[in-house]
């Protein structure tokens, strides 16, 4: 599987990458800014995500961003993480010039053209998002507190990306304009153009469009905090209006790019994959004490997160589930793990990789994730195929690493359950 790309670096610091995938019959733009919630000042939590919303509010040239592209069959989306903010747009292949011009326009003008009434409306929308995504869901509060419990309130990762009602309401218009001007500069941006394109032509078009933007020298340098695997607290317990219990075990693991992450990813699969995951089989099928067994690994720039969670059937099953997680890790750490098990995980990873490449949306996300700490795609395919070379000793070592380092235990119990 070849992933061929072409890259150029503009004089203003912006990096542009093109990747042809003619099978998709569409064109995709992914514009990545090296700014996320980790860059927020303590009195401005949620500003990165709020600015993501505001980038769609239009400029004097393009008063309605969606109305400008939708008639051509194009659509857009965006996300904000702790490390980055990304703007995605796609459409029929002939809309590339339009999409490029729209991105240039909003990078140039959004900070000055933003209207206060639009800011007020989007503030309401984001606050609705907090209510819908967290307050309406059982244990939403627990999820909002987890990062602080894991990393500490003073850590750049130690607050929720979405902010809070209070923090959002305290953000001023001046702070928003300043944030956009500071971070939405070409020397802080990478553009990926993919899909049914002629790569060189697309590269030339993008170069011409973005070359006129000026770089910004006002960005605060991103200094990583001293890395530690130790969570701030060891247990977080939230009671909520819910009918079920919840348990998750979260570790701080090394940052993106660290060689331990590959075996950790396979280990999570070995434990939690539906059907053959050891914890899935034990908790859901054999012991019947939990449902919803899930595991995940989130690579991030400064610290990654590994999580194993489940819904214990009863209050007394919380301890059983927690014990089972550590017991299975002990088993693996002591070498009780079979090659068949490892082969299952590798096959599943291979399938996941193929499915990601097939869908341009997923392929684009993988490539954008890579671009967050690489300047070229050299080694991209090999990195994802490296799972093939993970050995049983690597898995054993990964389990030993997890057992050596304390996790955060997050527990949710219904208000109706006795304390």
């Amino acid at each position: 599987m070849n992933i061929t790309t072409q890259t150029c670096l503009l004089h203003n610091g912006m990096r542009i990458v093109t990747h042809a995938y003619p099978r998709s019959k569409t064109v995709h733009l992914g514009l990545l800014f090296n700014v996320g919630s980790r860059n927020e000042q303590p009195d401005q939590f949620g500003i990165a995500h709020l600015c993501e919303h505001l980038m769609f509010c239009g400029t004097k040239n393009i008063p309605d961003f969606d109305a400008h592209m939708t008639p051509y069959g194009a659509s857009n989306n965006a996300w904000t993480s702790m490390d980055a903010t990304c703007y995605l747009s796609n459409g029929p292949k002939d809309v590339l010039p339009l999409l490029l011009s729209m991105e240039v326009d909003r990078m140039q003008h959004i900070a000055t053209d933003l209207k206060t009434e639009n800011i007020a409306i989007e503030m309401d929308v984001v606050r609705n998002e907090i209510r819908e995504q967290y307050e309406l869901s059982p244990y939403g509060d627990l999820f909002l507190q987890q990062n602080s419990a894991l990393f500490g309130a003073n850590h750049p990762y130690g607050h929720p990306i979405i902010g809070s009602h209070d923090s959002l309401q305290s953000i001023t218009v001046a702070q928003i304009r300043s944030f956009i001007q500071q971070w939405y500069a070409p020397n802080n941006a990478t553009l990926l153009i993919s899909g049914d394109i002629q790569p060189q032509k697309a590269l030339d078009m993008a170069q011409k469009a973005f070359a006129r933007l000026s770089s910004s020298s006002t960005q605060v340098k991103n200094t990583p905090p001293v890395w530690s695997a130790q969570p701030q607290i060891e247990k977080l317990h939230v009671r909520d209006q819910a009918s079920y219990h919840f348990l998750s075990v979260e570790w701080i693991v090394p940052p993106r790019g660290n060689p331990l992450l590959q075996p950790l990813a396979l280990l999570v699969d070995m434990l939690c994959a539906p059907r053959y995951g050891k914890l899935y089989q034990l908790l859901e099928i054999t012991d019947k004490c939990a449902t919803g067994v899930e595991g995940s690994l989130h690579p991030q720039m400064w610290s990654s997160q590994l999580s194993i969670s489940a819904i214990p059937n009863t209050a007394s099953d919380i301890q059983t589930v927690s014990d089972a997680i550590f017991a299975e890790l002990e088993q693996i750490a002591n070498g009780h793990v079979s090659n068949i098990s490892l082969q299952q995980c590798k096959k599943r990873q291979k399938l996941g990789w193929l499915l990601s490449l097939e869908d341009l949306n997923c392929r684009e996300e993988l490539m954008l994730s890579w671009l967050q700490n690489h300047t070229s795609f050299s080694g991209f395919v090999e990195h994802f195929q490296r799972a093939e070379h993970v050995t049983l000793p690597d898995i054993i070592q990964a389990a030993q690493w997890l057992l050596k380092n304390n996790p955060l235990l997050s527990i949710g119990t219904p208000l109706a359950t006795p304390n």
């Binding site: 194009a74 029929p92 929308v125 819908e132």
Partner: protein, 415 residues
């Protein structure tokens, strides 16, 4: 747009719809087993039986090297087994499914546990206002005595009544006396698929599914209290028509323009202009001869009255102001959605499945989709006139302020 989709029938009775895609060594398989919750002896029986069977499948595959997640979904007329996997394991997957069907067994302990899980699901669902809203819509649209009023999940009472005999009978009828259709997207040739089906799958006898009885909607304004949340879920339902109606595509496109894309009338007003909601959407849900249109909005309690007024206003106005520009914009967005849907094996298999479910020939999929692009303003206005004139069900889930409408209370015990 599409590579050819071929139909054949195996010597062991399976209707097969196959699209060859050689780009990657992966397959997407959908096995449709005729017989669903519509003809179940009790509400919830189909899903509980399928859940038991899925757990059995998960148990016995433990030692096999099989990639890909397997799902079973229980519907009114079918149960559908779906799996996406590596090409090299295709025949192993078919053999595994056949072996499981032939050897499936369960104990009273297994039944007790799955009944417990099902009851837990019902309990957990009521924690989520959007789930409660969906249940309320089912109850109100289908009517109190309709077999689909509980969806596939059943009620607490009906789940308690399910016995080993019920489950055994349901499994025999739907999974062992197979009335199956295979939909597959894979790099194999159709000849190979046919051969694999004949070698590895059980015998099947084709049978059409039961027709869905007409709904008996309860119209009016309803409230399902949920006092521990700060948002209110609003649902507005209007019965329209099913997919056999000549204005079916008019309704699909109208729904998209009203609330199916980000730049829709609903989002423009409720989110962009008023900031009332993070997400508002519209959908069209249908069977052969009946269907309903739904608007869904989540808004802050203090602003729910304004959200209701704006939403109803958009709906009452929906038969008017359709320009060529809006129609063309919607068609272009639909075209992009189709391109996306047809771009992966899995989503292509899903759309072939939908086509089959609607009684259409999946081999004519491209022709069928192209009907959407031939629509005129007249078609969309015709569909929207029916929508605008239809009586409605309005459902609010949450804690309400005083509202100037007469509301009937629904209670959770009904679920």
């Amino acid at each position: 747009m599409l590579p050819p989709i071929k139909h054949c029938q195996s010597t062991n009775g399976w209707h097969i719809y196959h699209c060859q895609q050689k780009y990657l060594p992966i397959f997407s398989l959908r096995l449709l087993f005729t017989g669903g919750c519509l003809d179940a002896a009790l509400p919830g029986l189909t899903r509980l039986t399928d859940h038991l069977f899925l757990r059995y499948l998960h148990t016995i595959s433990r030692e096999k090297i099989i990639s890909g997640d397997l799902h079973i979904s229980s519907h009114a007329q079918y149960s559908i087994l779906s799996i996406d996997g590596l090409q090299e394991e295709f025949t192993d997957v078919l053999s595994w499914i056949t072996h499981s069907i032939q050897n499936f067994s369960f104990s009273q302990k297994d039944i007790d546990y799955v009944q417990f899980l099902t009851q837990q699901d019902l309990l957990h669902g009521s924690d989520h206002p959007d789930v409660l809203a969906a249940w309320g819509v089912e109850q109100l649209y289908w009517g109190i005595d309709h077999p689909l009023r509980w969806g596939a999940r059943g009620s607490k009472a009906s789940i308690r009544q399910l016995s080993k005999d019920h489950i055994q009978s349901s499994f025999e009828r739907r999974w062992r006396n197979v009335k199956g259709t295979m939909i597959v997207v894979s790099p194999h040739t159709t000849t190979d698929i046919l051969q694999h089906c004949q070698t590895h799958l059980p015998n099947s006898t084709p049978q059409k599914p039961l027709a869905v009885p007409h709904p008996m909607p309860q119209f009016g304004d309803f409230h399902l209290p949920k006092h521990d949340i700060s948002q209110v879920e609003l649902r507005v339902i209007r019965p329209v028509f099913g997919f056999e109606h000549p204005l079916y595509w008019g309704m699909e496109l109208g729904t998209m323009a009203l609330g199916g894309i980000f730049y829709s009338r609903l989002n423009q007003v409720l989110r962009k202009e008023e900031g009332l909601t993070y997400g508002a959407s519209a959908s069209y849900n249908y069977y052969r001869q009946n269907g309903y249109f739904q608007l869904a909005v989540s808004a802050e309690q203090q602003k729910i009255q304004l959200a209701i007024e704006k939403t109803i206003g958009i709906l009452n106005d929906c038969a008017h102001h359709w320009s060529e520009e809006e129609l063309e914009m919607t068609k272009k967005n639909l075209r992009q959605q189709f391109i996306d849907l047809l771009g992966t094996n899995s989503s292509l298999a899903d759309i072939m499945e939908s086509c089959y479910f609607e009684g259409k020939d999946p081999c004519q999929l491209e022709q069928y989709l192209s009907q959407a692009f031939a629509l005129t303003q007249h078609d969309i206005e015709g569909a929207m006139r029916i929508l605008a004139a239809s009586p409605q069900i309005l459902l609010l889930v949450g804690k309400l302020p005083n509202l100037p409408i007469s509301i009937k209370q629904l209670t959770l015990s009904k679920f």
